[in-house]
């Protein structure tokens, strides 16, 4: 039986006269990796900010583990977020970044340094704890941001296009790391992206968005086999097919040369 951790019901959001989210409903299972895929301006970041509690919806409900968290403060939702460019505290060391939230809170202060060190060890940054974020590579910075979130034991981690500023090689290696971290911690992850390939490589399910509306939410296989409408077919399948065709063309050129 599916174990739903989060349910979003009929969420709407308007900015002045513009509709940012139009009656969006979906749910996510415990331990699942869900990608929200769509072009710029389709409302995916607005959805993410409403889920974490940085933005209030105009209508609709968000239910987590059976509890209505629509009006709960961001820090009380049991969720963490990794922002685009990571938003690390440049004046603090890697260890201080991860330890900061634990240290501030009286209940978690005791043993915070050990907990943070342990977390950094688990994400493979044990030897970088004294470095400042700007001394690390993009990939290492992402791991610090994930460790900072994971150390608070969130039930769900949200990612706001965390790899959009990275080069292709780093993105490929980080995808693997992200999946590894998810397997190890078993955390539910919601990942915002406009990159079809990234969504298909990472996700258990993909939610495709179009101009403030949800177009389809399904497994990658089902989206390929049964696209819900022309938009999904063109934005997801045709785009992927183009990439595959390009690769095939280069593969045949290489093959020809070898022959």
């Amino acid at each position: 039986m599916e174990d739903k951790i989060l349910t979003v019901e009929h969420v709407c959001k308007y900015f002045d006269s513009q509709t940012a989210l139009d009656d969006v409903s979906f749910d996510i299972n415990r331990g699942e990796f869900l990608s929200i895929l769509g072009p710029s301006g389709c409302g995916k970041t607005t959805m993410l900010r409403i889920l974490i509690g940085l933005l209030a919806s105009d209508s609709g409900k968000i239910i987590k583990d059976g509890e209505d968290i629509t009006n709960a403060p961001a820090s009380k939702r049991g969720m963490g977020i990794v922002f685009q460019n990571y938003a690390l505290f440049e004046n603090m060391s890697v260890l201080e970044n991860v330890r900061y939230a634990l240290k501030i809170n009286k209940e978690t202060r005791a043993g915070s340094a050990e907990k943070a060190k342990d977390m950094l060890q688990r994400v493979g940054l044990g030897e970088y704890i004294k470095k400042k974020p700007y001394e690390l590579s993009g990939g290492q910075q992402q791991r610090v941001a994930i460790a900072r979130t994971l150390v608070l034991n969130p039930d769900i981690i949200l990612f706001d296009e965390p790899m959009s500023a990275l080069d292709v090689a780093t993105r490929l290696s980080l995808r693997k790391e992200l999946k590894k971290i998810q397997r190890e911690f078993g955390t539910t992850m919601i990942y915002i992206t406009h990159d079809q390939e990234e969504a298909f490589a990472l996700s258990d399910r993909i939610m495709v968005m179009e101009e403030s509306r949800l177009s389809q939410i399904d497994t990658p296989e089902n989206i390929i086999k049964n696209p819900a409408n022309d938009y999904v077919k063109s934005f997801v399948i045709d785009n992927l097919r183009q990439k595959i065709d390009s690769l095939a063309k280069y593969a045949s050129v290489d093959g020809g040369a070898e022959a």
């Binding site: 009006n71 460019n85 938003a87 004046n91 001394e135």
Partner: protein, 537 residues
Amino acid sequence: MTALAKKRSSVRLDLVKLLLAIIFILLCLLPLARMLFFIDKETLTKVVSSESFGKSVLNTLLVGVTATAISVTLALLLSFSLQRTKVRGKSAFSMIFCLPMLIPSISIGWGMVILFGTNGVLTRLFSLENSIYGFWGIVIGSVIYAFPVAFLMLNDVLKYEDGLPYEAAEVLGFSKWRRTCAITIPYLKRPLISAIFATFTMIVTDYGVPLVLGGKFKTMPVLLYENVTGSLDFAAGSVIGVFLLVPAVVAFLFDLFSKSKGNTSFVPKPMPINKDKIRDAAAYLLCGAVALASLIFAASFLFLAIVKKYPRDLSVTFDNFVRTFELGGSEYLVNSLIIALCTSVLGVVVAFITAYFTARVSSKTSRFLHLMSITSLAIPGMVLGLSYSLTFNKTPIYGTIAILILVNTMHFFASPYLMAYNSMSKMNENLENVGETIGVSRWRIIKDVILPQSRSTLIEAFAYFFVNCMMTISAVSILTNTSTKPISLMINQFEAHMAIECAAVVSLLILVINLLMKGTVLFCQKRFFDRKPNNTP
């Protein structure tokens, strides 16, 4: 945070912004309005139709146009010499060129007298015959006073010009001349106009240089100074003040509407510089000559400060320092240090808070507060001083050091505010959001993250306030009295009593104190805030 709590918090933040904007209106626009309403039709007609006013307008424009043309040309040549040649010691040259920015403009005037006056050091050494008093004296003094500002603006622009379009033009076979017309001139157009406006405004609103070197050739700021401090005719001063506002307001509006919206984090490709020995030799010659002139200028104060009685007795002595302090120098120095330190602390605190609200709490009120924060750029110091005098003359702070601190904070506020604004705009936009998601308040994030990351900028802002307060003679000259007088205003007083050695001591003291402040800031920047990114995979 619930939707209602979010709305409440946003209203609270908007209220703080509004409160800050009201403070700026009260301390900047209101005094200005008071000055404008002080002018009656009769005084306006009387002043504008007077011969001295007409002459002073013409003189000011003549000096302004000539000195601006020379200053900006010189600044452009020096910037090209440093940024487009293989000249070595670029930082050292830049620092030496900026030495005149560390002394009051009145000291520049007296430096000219020490070197080229009737009994000037160089006049006697080379038996020079031309008089430095009048138009050309003011022009040369104004160039020395204003060219470092134009140089800093243009040098920065050339330093960060992207080399990629030049490489592309070379590949396309563009000649040097075509490259200049197609790339350099369009790129330089806006900063050059900005530099021209800034330099022109500085020159035409300064009274220090023309007061010393003008003689009968009077400019508008001198006329304002004489009307207000000499004849106590505040109404006539207000009329001249309004006219002095015009260039400053035009420069302000130009900068406001022509600000580049380019990507501030863009990293340009370094400009390719080919080998050219003749070009480099010419650059060395120009930079060397200007650096030498700047150093001779600074050395002239030292020379005069340590000779017994120039030009009769050139024996070395420290008596002038003792005499300066005996004649009230120590009290005035303490006044200056109190004003400079208090202004710097107050200015930095207000600049940081204001910049935080405009750069990191975006809403419709942010733009309004930003505009109010930079309004002081459009008000020359003399005009601000006069408006304060008319507005606060019946308040308890009038005649105290507090009003000098207040007027200096407002007068020099815009640049440090913009430094803090730019620095905080460049920080990651989600720092406060991270705080919200991990249960850390906005104020705690400011204390633990934003403030530590702004330290370098705030120290620079502190030094900016300090240096300018130490050397300013504009707004304070109208608001000061014998017990609150800053040391920069003693220069003229000593000259009036024929104690030019003491005036040199004061100029030297201001220069040394400002150099120490600049040196300390530079040391702190290098020692504590120099980032060395390490891009290990």
